[in-house]
Symmetry: C2
Subunit: 142 residues, 2 copies
DNA sequence: AGTCTACATTATAATTATTCTAAACTGTTG
DNA sequence: CAACAGTTTAGAATAATTATAATGTAGACT
């Protein structure tokens, strides 16, 4: 349960101005016990519900991307028309339920560490993440 | 190098009518030596370039999704505003170059088999895929 | 073969997701 | 407390995707 002043510091220290829009978004995103996944649209809705003011969708986009660039959020890869974000910024894997479109965090104990034997590229590996898709048996693959 | 008639059979046998739009798309997608990745937009452009006729973008969407449902294409997960598709339908992993936005297929020998110790869900695992993000050293993560 | 019917397919129009950019704001500096 | 130089916001524009009305197609029955 962080206080407003802490968000101000956090933002300032990473070179982002603590505007009122950003602070509201911080509250909605980080004033929680558990990490969670969301869509830009989810977030925009939460904001206009939980707080009375409404923030332009474009601003929500800007802010989420700024937070992502600063490492406060992670973008998640699933086959979808929408981008998902995650407030859990540790390196971790996901289950994705194709029936319900639900995305579930995976404890690192649930999957054995992935061993990359050969890096095809010349570049540095930034992350290695596994996505496990599940569905009821009668569903077709992918 | 499949012939038109073979595409007709393939489509019929999976319950899709071999319309001229679909046959043209088959040609562009499957008349090749190597598998490849593409965006709906890439594909639509290729079609209007390689062939003289133009197919409505919506039809390209419909067809690609139909092919995916039938298992002739796979949708690929990367952080992007667009959906990527793959004509390589085997279960395989990917490197994603964040500098160039290039997606590279990974030989199964390059990564040790991923072992899921515990399926959190009650449902059947449909696929397990790894995405390795790479970038030049100075890039920021994600 | 020709017409009818039921369903599949196409592609325009509508919707939804994302980005561009002009206007508003902030934080210095004189 | 102006004037300037970035930032940030948010309305307007663009891009991606889907819904649906119009069209096409394959049998069934003449």
């Amino acid at each position: 349960m962080l206080k407003n002043a802490e968000f101000v510091d956090k933002l300032r220290s990473s070179g982002l101005r603590p505007t009122k829009q950003r602070l509201k978004i911080c509250e909605v995103l980080f004033n929680r016990e558990k990490t969670f996944h969301f869509t830009i649209n989810d977030l925009a809705k939460n904001i206009s519900n939980q707080l009375n003011e409404k923030i332009s969708l474009a601003t929500v986009y800007n802010t989420v991307h700024a937070f992502k660039d600063k490492g406060y959020l992670k973008e998640i890869s699933i086959n979808s028309d929408k981008s998902y974000f995650d407030t859990n910024i540790t390196n971790h894997h996901h289950f994705f339920d194709e029936d319900t479109n639900q995305l579930i965090d995976c404890n690192n104990e649930d999957i054995e560490e992935v061993r990359v034997k050969k890096n095809i590229t010349e570049k540095k590996i930034k992350s290695v993440e596994v996505l496990i898709k599940v569905a009821s048996d009668n569903q077709n693959q992918n």
